[in-house]
Symmetry: C2
Subunit: 266 residues, 2 copies
């Protein structure tokens, strides 16, 4: 088998990474995609760097065993805390979601503009976005805000309920009208995009790290001559727990039909 014909591996703490999967599936219909969701240990965003690192390494080894050609860490928490260690482990290229999100934000923000990074507690505490934005050399005013209830709200399927609006207001109302670009620094958050946009007001542009990551992956695969131009790529879903619930939520929230979901316990 040619390298370009091997599958792409994608992983997340749970189902948030499916927002990346969905964009990728649309952009690259010929690729075989293997998605892993760590549903036995979700969420990652309130856990320690040590735990997130250990979990990420286990999953990386598992996906490497599937002969992938490229690995996407479709979880901002794991991208923030474990990307360097995952790269050390991996003989194939690894893409996190921070860099594509930062690049998309840099394109959208005016000089000297104000950026608000939203994410889990672990992502925000890592300051990975602030560092990446600073390294770009752009003069920006960057603030980070953890929104820990957004992931459970999405996992409950309450993306447009009044409780979601009120929660978004509690976290974000102080920033309304004061931000040029808001980064959705968690792959669950695109599912709350409408609610977040409403709270922030029309002046704020929302940057979606899921779409940015999918575009970044396509660019990297193309640059390395690894694109699979076949048709009808297959999708495979594996979780560490509760496959039926995963399948149900994938359809309810993202209209993704997973078919049979396999289970791999660690």
């Amino acid at each position: 088998m040619k390298d370009s014909e091997r599958p792409i591996g994608i992983f997340d703490s749970g189902l948030g990474g499916l927002t990346v999967f969905k964009e990728l599936r649309a952009l690259l219909p010929g690729e075989d995609l293997i998605y892993f969701g760590d549903t036995a240990r979700v969420p990652y965003g309130t856990k320690s760097a040590e735990a997130v690192l250990a979990f990420s390494k286990e999953i990386t080894s598992f996906l490497l065993g599937k002969k992938i050609k490229f690995l996407i860490v479709a979880c901002n928490t794991a991208s923030s805390l474990a990307l360097d260690e995952i790269r050390k482990l991996s003989p194939v290229p690894v893409l996190g979601v921070i860099k594509p999100g930062v690049e998309a934000a840099l394109k959208a923000v005016p000089a000297g503009g104000r950026v608000l990074v939203t994410g889990t507690s672990a992502t925000v505490n890592s300051r990975a976005y602030s560092r990446a934005l600073a390294e770009s050399g752009a003069r920006l005013k960057v603030t980070e805000k953890a929104c820990p209830l957004f992931v459970p709200l999405v996992e409950e399927g309450w993306c447009s309920k009044p409780a979601a609006v009120l929660t978004a207001r509690e976290y974000l109302a102080p920033f309304r009208g004061k931000i040029d670009v808001l980064i959705l620094g968690c792959t669950h958050y695109p599912l709350l995009k409408k609610v977040i946009a409403r709270v922030m007001g029309p002046r704020t542009r929302i940057v979606d790290s899921a779409l940015a990551a999918a575009l970044g992956a396509r660019a990297e695969l193309a640059a390395r001559g690894l694109l699979n131009k076949a048709r009808g790529g297959r999708s495979e879903f594996i979780v560490s727990d509760a496959p039926a619930r995963f399948s149900e939520l994938a359809f309810k929230l993202l209209k993704i039909r997973t078919g049979k979901v396999a289970v791999k316990r660690f």
Copy 2:
């Protein structure tokens, strides 16, 4: 060392079981208590029976290694799904939180009355409360309602925020004025008692499984001659991840000063 002088083990998926710990500490000031919170894998309530069983067995073996005289499963999800298996593993008596909660509800409910059991998805799907209430022989109308966002709300420390009220309303408003006794079937939920009581209205009595479990433990220890009547019992806290966050939330939510929290990873 006499059996009665050995410690009591308590475990939960995270910090919810601290509501049981707190009641127990007040009732039994002479006992040594060892609390384990599985913060690396919290929450349990959205996970499968297999996963909850595997986690519960690991923790039970770990606490048995600490020479405990009595084990309290201070997690409704683990009590619903794993209690029989834990008992098989344990040479010391094991108390779950379902039976004490059911007994307290039976005392509070009028004949033919209406009971609402609230809990995590896993607890509600197990129907453990409905079965235990039916086995009592009392003629009751029992309904169960999963409230999956209550645990993340408590873990965020939002016990009296408007978002907590709106979430409680979303789950419980259809039952307002129609229920005699509401069982808080999750050890996190006592922290939302005021909000839940407000939504349910003054006619509904709220039964707290944390207090019921602590009273049940005292009664069982006394019946077995295992009460430690010394003074100044020690408290030890162990978690599977993020000890500083656990300590901080224990104080913020329950005014428990944990001192140093140890870490045991699985």
